[in-house]
């Protein structure tokens, strides 16, 4: 991968920079299995990803279930240890950090989970949920924590006086997600992974949460990795987007360009699957069988490829497509 990503790496002071990231999961590697000489099965969730995200940028990551997009997000905040490759945060290598360095990184990189019903401990009040990260990071002064919690709740537009002493089961999904976001920003991080933050919410309140994320990114200079399978929400808030398939990026670039003129056969299929509001446009049926690099003629795959290695092609400025033959 020497052609494409170079263009990205020149970005002025990226917050997060990822090179060749690989995350494999080993299944069935127990004591008994190893004694019986069974070789463990390997799942290649993330299989070589390059990526940079800058300040105040919302970077979209789309792909179907099982494409490895959530794993990538969770590896970036170090909930998983990468198998190979490197992650650097503001120029500092955080791939293999542990102990106090990891704790410092946790302060800078936060995650918002998909399920707002599961991400808040039902035994803790809103105040306790939002202040927990402060407690963990040793903010021992109660008044100081109070001020910061109220400030974070203000930022997510939740009236603190009304909700501080409520418990999660008393709140709606949208409110819970706002609380989860408040908790994520209370430590003033610079990077947030939003793992499908609106997919479990009612459509009527999705826009509010997306709006909030975009505004926070702008106001706080946050780098946001927005993971989703919903092209519509990606289009709504993302500056750039990458399409992920079987653990790899197959296409990335400016959101509008990628959506308007998808270059990779897989992206074309993905876009063809998005319902259109125009009654005149007939959706073309494409073979949904997941074989983007194979023999089908859905897109550019008819060309012959002379390269040995997977490589990127810049089809237009800031729009890269992976060679579909690899």
């Amino acid at each position: 991968m020497d052609d494409g990503p170079g263009g990205w790496l020149t970005m002025a002071s990226p917050v997060v920079e990822v090179q060749g990231l690989v995350k494999h999961f080993t299944l069935g590697g127990g004591v008994v299995a190893s004694m019986l000489g069974r070789s463990p099965r390997v799942v290649k969730a993330v299989d070589g990803v390059d990526l940079t995200i800058g300040r105040s940028e919302v970077f979209g990551l789309v792909g179907e279930s099982g494409s490895g997009k959530s794993t990538l997000g969770m590896t970036l905040v170090k909930l998983y240890q990468p198998t190979e490759g490197s992650i650097s945060f503001r120029g500092r290598d955080v791939t293999r950090i542990a102990g106090s360095a990891l704790k410092t990184y946790r302060k800078d990189a936060q995650i918002i989970f998909q399920d707002p019903y599961g991400s808040l401990n039902p035994r803790l009040s809103v105040a306790q949920v939002v202040e927990e990260p402060l407690r963990i990071h040793g903010v021992s002064d109660d008044a100081e924590r109070g001020t910061k919690v109220v400030e974070a709740l203000d930022r997510v537009r939740v009236p603190a006086a009304e909700y501080l002493d409520r418990y999660p089961h008393e709140l709606s999904g949208g409110l819970r997600q706002r609380i989860a976001i408040a908790r994520a920003i209370v430590l003033e991080p610079e990077f947030i992974v939003a793992d499908e933050p609106v997919s479990m919410l009612d459509v009527s309140i999705q826009a509010g949460i997306l709006e909030l994320l975009e505004r926070l990114s702008r106001e706080l200079g946050l780098a946001v990795l927005y993971v989703s399978h919903d092209i519509a929400t990606v289009r709504y808030i993302c500056d750039r987007v990458a399409v992920m398939y079987l653990g790899r990026f197959v296409e990335y670039g400016d959101t509008e360009t990628v959506i308007a003129r998808p270059g990779h056969p897989y992206t074309k299929r993905l876009m063809a699957a998005v319902p259109s509001v125009d009654p005149a446009s007939q959706r073309t049926r494409v073979d949904a069988h997941p074989d983007p690099s194979g023999s089908d003629t859905a897109g550019a795959a008819t060309e012959t490829c002379t390269h040995e290695e997977p490589h990127w092609e810049e089809v237009e400025p800031e729009h890269y497509v992976a060679c579909p033959l690899h």
């Binding site: 909930l79 991400s119 035994r123 105040a127 990071h137 537009r157 002493d165």
Partner: protein, 317 residues
Amino acid sequence: MAEMVEFPGPGRGGPTRDVLEVWAGTRRRSGLAPFVDGLRLLVRDPFALVGLVIIAVFFLVAALSGFLAPYDPYEALPTPEGELARLETPSGDHWLGTTAFGNDVLSQLLVGTRVAFIVGISAAIVVGIISTLLGLLSGYYGRYVDDVIMRATDVALSIPTLPIAIVAVAILGASLRNIILVVVLLFWRNGARIVRSVVLTEKEKVYVQAARAAGASHLYIMRVHILPNVIPVAFLWMTMSVAFAILAEASLSFIGLGDPNAMSWGQMLNLAFTEGSIRTAWWWVLPPSLCLVFLISSIYVVGRAWEEKTNPRLRRR
């Protein structure tokens, strides 16, 4: 696009609530505060209150049994005519009658309360601590820690209960301390498995991952997010262990391995059984049975209410 408004109108307390006051209201007083709060909530539950009162009464009786018992529980008492007071029905002299050996049932019952508390409670506490600790470590850390602890549990589970108890007490000697030790050795294994299964579900909760992403240590996660969900289960297991402990003590007493210096409820029942009086001498059989039922169900009701009160979702507001 305007931001969606999703807040219901003015909520509890109206718009006049002061942020800092509300914040101060959410503060937990440190140390024993959760237990004090829990106790305060328990007292409001009628069932739990009754259970607590019964336990408290039994506890007082156990503590004061030496003063309360009208006779020596082992003394073979004579009738005014000079014969052995054998299987006498309740009367003014013997409120709960006498046994086939001429002992005063009430005195034995009162002394038995103390034995029940000593054996039941101390065994349950040790069982609770060991099971919680091993289950927590095994479930939370998984992998090799889990393998080692669970294989040890499997071995412990394969031990037949009563034969080992008999052998152990026979070797170590018949005393309350050894009976407690044997009960602990035999009952930590199920508790550890139960706690482990709870930990396995709890540690997969998204909020545990959220805490980890926030930088929480393993100790913090276990203490704040896992233990509160484990304790009610461990507590329930402990209440069952009380019953097991008392039963095990009775079983051992039955075959002559009970502490000869301690008259327990189980021992009373077993004596009544061996004397063939279990169907006839109701005054000998009913009191220890009822005491067992009341004490154990009270502990169970309090354990159940405790779980309900410490879990906000079950809390009736």
